[in-house]
Symmetry: C3
């Protein structure tokens, strides 16, 4: 089975990856990077399941770890003719045998060159070499040996999540959680004195489903929320109270932020009577589409108001068309690779929100987009004026080296470094976290080195700035 | 007349043009380019008149060859005060004397510096030096001598289209043809055993005018199509049959694709009865503007359906505002330099089309745009999921070195190289075809060399990838 | 107070700033820049108050000169928690004591690193070192010494505006003026034979407030205009006559252009009767919002018509959402840092205007945008066809090194250098004018050097082109 392996090309990690090819600039990049590469990781927004850490679960097998849950990889393989079912999708499946997982891994390795030039290829190489100790380029010939190498790594108890939190130097990590979650995983982790002395795992309040009266399951969600909060939700005042109650619960369990996946950035208060009236119609199942949207925009605005009161940082993620392919959604569910970005508008949409709360001293808002044009045209100018607003780092499709450099080159000139959120990995791929943060630190160094080489910044300033981007900015923005 | 020519600056082609200035990266670029520069040309979409090849026509004179038909050049000269009539526009004119052509050429040479930094300047230099053997920079002083040089080249029978197909190593070239065309030029070329052993000239089915009931001449066009197809087109079922008939005729004559110049990307089926009813109104001249649009979107969707059945690749070219200046259109007709790009929307517009047919195993769709933002924001993410969808290369205004590099740097990270169509020159300027393909191969090399220099790809992978972009991708996408 | 100053890092200006890091390309940049760096400054659009020059006023103090009036700086400081009032905003205030001004300066210096990587940091460093002779990096420790250095510079009578016009080599500068202004400052300057032999200070006709019937103060403005022009403005014909009268007055006082800050680019003539009718309603305070917009678009179109007659160049500045934060506007007024860009549409919006006047031989239009995408997608293609249309250089938020390079790299390929306006600084910060023009000349050199290094242009062509961008283009576009 491994007959050609001896001849397989090496897979390596170059110490200067992502730095400028120019010798002098590369030297500057190296010196800047040297000051940040070993700093602990702060990951203030992501999607790692908290149970992995609280239960200290094994990652299972290479396919389960690296392919099945990763929609970045699924989509490229799907486009190139692979059925999602071959990859074990959806993650809730329990019928994948070892043979199935090996077959999936072989398929992936056979498609290795389809990832040439992508961000996925970059992160994967970093993990394969840097984390798992793989030394050969993936291919149909090397697939099984690589599978075995990764499997052996996974099976080592030193490679369970809690040990990796140490090895990866993850000081702070946020999960994403349902408002009704009792956060028992977070409680268990906080109760472990040895673990919690070195690591903080914070929940994130993600109330989308409770703020979207247009959704078919909204009424049932609201009922459950009322029960969990112990609040009568027959009125909007009740829902408001329930939401405030759960935000307080999250904050008491270490939460530092709330997260909102939304279609657009409009937010506007209805007057109190209208809001109650629409809420009544929604609860009665009689709300129109336009009214549901108006009520949704009211509820979003009210989350901002709550943030000014409880101080939880609020992150906004607009602009993804979810489940673009209905047939795929019906067969496999959400988050399997067919969410697609679209253009958004920021300047007009955020005016009411920012006029009301944008300079509030207790508010931190972080705004992301998949539409890179608006980062420079609208978000950076807004964040260069409103005190509460921070520019989120490139997200999802634009979380890749060239895209990030374009982001840095455009927003920095308009708003400076102080208005940027710092690195947010937004990932559920636990083992990719060091690779992603390291990528950003390398790109910070590359960008700052360019400024130094153009004589726009002195090297000592660049080094100080690089450290701020890794440490100070996320601590300020997420109040750590 | 030529008194200053001895002192005229040289016009040269540097062997490293378009490569990185950095020495090490330039060396990598050279090594990659060396592997693709001599590969045959595959040109799966363009606008060279087939009669040029079947009749083996002379190009006439320098103005007729390089200026009159080239709207890229016309527009820049027009902006700088030259009347289009001075350049022989429109191409259907037959009254240009040798003196007129020489005068046009002098005007062009006097404006040479107006092309500094443009793609036109790049292609022209490549042709002037590399094809025609010109050695002096164009100027008012050198214009006549250069005219004579090119005229002598044209007058050499070894520089007729068929011989140039050999010299330019054009293995495959597609023309663009009316559905009613009997394709006698293609038949004649196919019947020439010596020629067709080495070259394939394929027709492309371009049915825009038959799918646009809002156009004043639509009814007459449909009548003609019915006659040519031998089908009664009094019903929509008849038009459908006629279109299928002509697609089959094109396919039987070597056609591999259909091409669609459209205003937007919306496509949606009407129900069968509504469609027939609107067709009836359209045929009776009683259709409203909104109905005409709905019927047009129905007809576009049905072209995609036909493509899944006959397997012809379908290329979509949205986003050009045609004939922006009415006075110019009235005086000179279409395609004379005043078509202007505008912003388009892709994610929502293509949903119905891609939900219905986007993963069909027999369909290949290639999507172009003049709005470079949507390449990375929408098209690359869609092509990174839907199996039928390929990213067309930068087209028209963005078919220039820096624009192409921006394209490569943004779409590759999101979708990889496997989802890109490969080079499509889209030109009617026959002698520019080698320059355009060479430009893309150089830019492929430059882009891949950057990835190698950033340690994101090994050099052997880059070389293999470069060859795929030139050979495998177009063959796969156009089923050659 | 100055105890740490001895240890403060130096503040320096590197002679190669903004050039490529690559040694060979840097050498080319240097040679190109050497040919333009000492050329006189032509500043055809800006906001320096003419009284500064006619009265030869002192700049007062460092805060009054560099902070209070500069909304680029205000906004970044505001975002980082500084109250605008601390900075002396608005400029009409007269209550700032020396202690206040020193405190403002200390605050600014304490926030110096918040400007890292911005355009403001670049211009400020250039002024601090190059104009005022500062040698230390701003910080809380060095603030007072730097304040003293600048104050001493200001207090030197050789640093009043008229002397600086010599030292800065400003050959031509345009101010921006109200149509009712009697232009006495310009008259006074023109009457000074010694000054006017070397410098020309031209007024610019800025009629926005008279062309916007939706504004509450429009009727009163129109009344005043009628009085100043000595024309009965009870009819639209009267307003038209008054505007023509004032344009002629401006032209007679050396004016070369009119400037228009607008929401969108739509312009369309109403028929004469409708226009008069809407004007009557507007004058009677009875016009609807939609009618006011239609009348505004009519009046804009008529400004273009007037430009074809009197030959004043017309500059269009669309796309800024003014006074985004109402509370800030109410407290401090306009132009204090909360204007925000938004996306604009050009291709369709300008069609009527360009179809009617776009190729008129007496018209020069310069189009700016804050939406950099439309520069390449729409404006460059339009300017590459219509003879009257020139591409304005990056404006305001995109008036920064990386943004300008993106602009050059994208528009040049499509339209060439001949369709670009040349440098326009658009500033009220008098002492930053040399820094801004020098920045553009450096970026011209850097961009042209890249073209030379990629073998797309010969070095002698690049040098000639660089000189044209500084001298010929603005002289042609503004008819100097």
């Amino acid at each position: 089975m491994h007959q050609n392996v001896a001849m397989a090309p090496e897979l390596t990690l170059h110490e200067d990856r992502l730095f400028s090819a120019d010798g002098a600039v590369r030297q500057i990049s190296r010196r800047i990077y040297a000051e940040t590469k070993d700093l602990p990781i702060i990951s203030p927004h992501g999607h790692v399941p908290p149970a992995w850490m609280s239960e200290n679960l094994s990652f299972g097998n290479p396919t389960r770890l690296l392919l099945t849950p990763d929609h970045y990889i699924n989509r490229i393989l799907h486009a190139n003719g692979v059925e999602l079912s071959e990859l074990g999708v959806p993650v809730t499946r329990t019928d994948m045998t070892e043979a199935d997982n090996r077959a999936a891994w072989r398929t992936f390795c056979a498609h290795w060159s389809d990832f040439n030039g992508t961000a996925m290829r970059y992160w994967l190489t970093d993990q394969l070499v840097g984390v798992f100790g793989v030394t050969q380029r993936p291919s149909i010939e090397t697939a099984d040996e690589i599978y075995d190498t990764i499997q052996a790594w996974i099976d080592d108890d030193n490679h369970r999540p809690r040990a990796l939190m140490d090895q990866f130097k993850i000081e702070f990590i946020a999960t994403t959680d349902d408002p009704c979650d009792d956060l028992h995983d977070h409680e268990k982790l906080a109760a472990d004195a040895e673990f919690s002395a070195k690591h903080r795992v914070a929940p994130t309040f993600r109330p989308d489903k409770y703020l979207t009266p247009a959704n078919p399951d909204w009424n049932q969600r609201v009922d459950t929320l009322g029960e969990v909060a112990g609040v009568d939700v027959s009125t909007l005042a009740g829902l408001t109270s329930a939401l405030e109650n759960r935000r307080a619960y999250f904050k008491a369990h270490g939460g530092v932020s709330t997260d909102h996946g939304i279609q657009d950035l409009d937010a506007a208060y209805l007057d109190a009577q209208d809001a109650e009236r629409l809420y009544g119609k929604a609860r009665a199942g009689e709300i129109t589409a336009a009214e549901a949207t108006a009520l949704h925009h009211h509820l979003i605005m009210d989350q901002v108001r709550m943030a000014t009161e409880d101080g939880l940082t609020l992150t906004l993620h607009p602009g993804a068309f979810r489940d673009h392919d209905r047939a795929t959604f019906e067969a496999y569910g959400a988050d399997v690779g067919c969410d697609i970005p679209y253009a958004i508008e920021v300047t007009r949409a955020t005016r009411e929100m920012l006029n009301r709360f944008g300079n509030h001293p207790n508010l931190n808002l972080v705004l992301f987009t998949l539409d890179e044009d608006v980062y420079s045209r609208e978000i950076a100018p807004l964040a260069g004026f409103y005190r509460s607003l921070y520019i989120g780092v490139p997200w999802w499709f634009i979380d890749a080296p060239e895209s990030i450099m374009r982001f840095k080159q455009s927003v920095t000139e308009m708003a400076g470094f102080s208005r940027i959120s710092g690195m947010i990995d937004d990932t559920r791929a636990f083992c990719s976290i060091p690779a992603r943060h390291d990528m950003m630190r390398r790109l910070d160094a590359a960008h700052l080195a360019n400024l130094v080489a153009a004589h726009r910044l002195d090297e000592d300033e660049a080094i100080e700035q690089a450290r701020k981007l890794v440490v100070d900015n996320p601590k300020k923005v997420f109040k750590l």
